[in-house]
Amino acid sequence: MKIKLDRTLCDGFGKCAEHAPTVFSLDEWGYASLAGSAEVPADLEPQVRRAILDCPVDAILERLATPAGRLTPPAGELAPQPGPA
């Protein structure tokens, strides 16, 4: 499986590193980053799934293969964005 850790969401609860210490690395304030690649080896998948479930702020996501261009809107003008134009 492939995962993503969103560091803008992580609140430093450290749960992930408890479950999968080789996948998640904590800084000295308890905030996580991936220790290595986003590709999780098969034998670590159960621990990483626990981490995904236990992360209190849902900062860890499984990256499902999305068909490229799935979010693409129809051709033409984009919807106007809020804010000064």
Partner: protein, 439 residues
């Protein structure tokens, strides 16, 4: 406010700045009189021809990361679905003025390049993303001077901040969110504005395209470097600040020594003690920076960088520890406060550099600074934390004796600093952002 000083290195003909004596803002007629909006004798290179010409010319991104534009154009062009172009003119870096100068003074050069880039990637829409009011006004006026463009171009404005120009912050702001970075992946070339593969390129990068897109006469070979002005020496825009008598914006050739360019253009107050490179981002160099060749790879190999081209000169009497302390305090105040490693790490590193400046740091503090500088890079959603770590690491690497001296004695120069003031150190006074004053 004093006017901005601009100048061109004597070895080159300007391509980005205007020739000496040119009157203020360049309107459509003036741009066309210089050959603008017409390409070369064979018109414009389009699509893959343009992408290969850009790749051959070796044009690197001028927003800070020096990533080859040809690779980025090809990556976005190859993605399925609709594509979007964002021309990044936010210029969050306080020690840089080049993008605002280009947008305020040569909006048509930027728009010509915008259309070239948009066509090369098959963009359905292009955005010029800015925070400076004068820049926004200048681009809007320029758009009003033009007939319909082949691609709709919109101006998008945000409040100025250091992080608002980071590429995912730009995408997020255009999508209606806050101008703060998002974690990667996805990068904008995969999923950006409205979810479309998006090319985010710096204003100065885009301003080089009309020249590279100029097509030769039919039957002739494609020769990059043709177009406006004579072919030959590649140039970049250098914002020079710090201890130089004529701080300002200069067009400089690649390939000469940094010190020679600084001395010829901004002038020096004496043999420089060092340089702060790439604005606040690429860290300090000691006096060895003086002879380093202006080349992205040369600076990178020395653990430094040209970044966005902003160079801060440390004069003979300037204290590098005080310089690092000011910049670190700025990172502590101006990070986006989203990632724990960043808001804690910048605060911790700033604590040590401030303690050094105050003459109250000990060996243990310096060792902690060293370990953060090594451990923290890559732990933020954007590269702000890496920039702060660069400053810490380079201070310890380039100025060990000065750091050591600050452990023993109070530095007279550092004693003058007010690290709590909400100022942007080394900002160019003529272009200071409203919320900041120069230190």
């Amino acid at each position: 406010m004093p006017p901005l000083i601009t100048g061109v290195h004597p070895a080159v003909t300007p391509r980005l700045l205007l020739p000496a004596g040119a009157p203020g803002r360049e309107d459509r007629a003036a741009y066309e009189a210089r050959g603008g909006y017409s390409g070369g004798p064979g018109g414009y290179l389009e699509g893959e021809d343009l992408i290969s010409a850009v790749a051959e010319a070796g044009l690197r991104g001028r927003g800070g990361a020096a990533f080859p534009l040809g690779v980025k154009l090809a990556a976005v062009a190859a993605q399925p679905g609709d594509h979007v172009l964002v021309v990044n003119g936010e210029e969050g870096e306080p020690a840089s003025v080049k993008d605002r100068w280009l947008l305020r003074t040569r909006p048509h050069l930027v728009l010509d390049g915008t259309v070239r880039a948009a066509r090369a990637i098959g963009a359905v829409t292009a955005y010029v993303y800015v925070s400076d009011d004068q820049a926004a006004e200048s681009v809007r006026t320029a758009l009003a001077e033009l007939d319909e463009l082949p691609v709709p171009v919109h101006v998008r404005t945000v409040s100025h901040s250091y992080v608002a120009g980071e590429e995912t912050a730009a995408v997020r702001a255009i999508n209606g969110g806050p101008a703060k970075p998002t974690d990667k992946p996805p990068r904008p070339f995969e999923e950006g504005v409205a979810g479309c593969p998006t090319l985010v390129s710096n204003v100065e990068t885009i301003a080089n395209l009309p020249r590279l897109a100029a097509a030769p006469a039919p039957g002739e070979d494609v020769s990059p470097g043709r177009g406006f002005g004579p072919a030959g020496q590649e140039t970049f825009l250098m914002t020079l600040t710090g201890s130089c008598p004529r701080p300002g914006l200069y067009e400089v050739p690649f390939g000469g020594p940094l010190g020679e360019a600084a001395e010829t253009l901004g002038g020096l107050t004496g043999p420089p003690r060092g340089y702060l490179m790439g604005g606040y981002f690429a860290g300090l160099l000691n006096r060895r920076g003086h002879v380093l060749t202006l080349d992205y790879d040369v600076f990178r190999d020395q653990g430094s960088g040209l970044g966005c081209g902003a160079v801060i000169v440390l004069g003979p009497a300037d204290c590098p520890v005080g310089c690092a302390a000011q910049v670190m305090a700025y990172f502590d105040r101006n990070n986006a406060s989203q990632c724990g490693s960043c808001f804690n790490g910048t605060a911790a590193m700033s604590g040590v550099t401030a303690a050094l400046a105050a003459g109250i740091a000990g060996q243990a503090d310096v060792r902690r600074l060293e370990s953060w500088a090594a451990f923290l890079p890559g732990r933020g959603a954007c590269a702000t934390l890496d920039g702060a770590a660069n400053v810490a690491r380079s201070l310890l690497r380039e100025f060990p004796a000065e750091v050591e001296a600050h452990l023993r004695d109070r530095c007279g120069q550092c004693a003058e600093l007010d690290l709590t003031a909400a100022t942007a150190p080394f900002a160019v006074a003529a272009y200071a952002q409203p919320a900041e004053e120069t230190a």
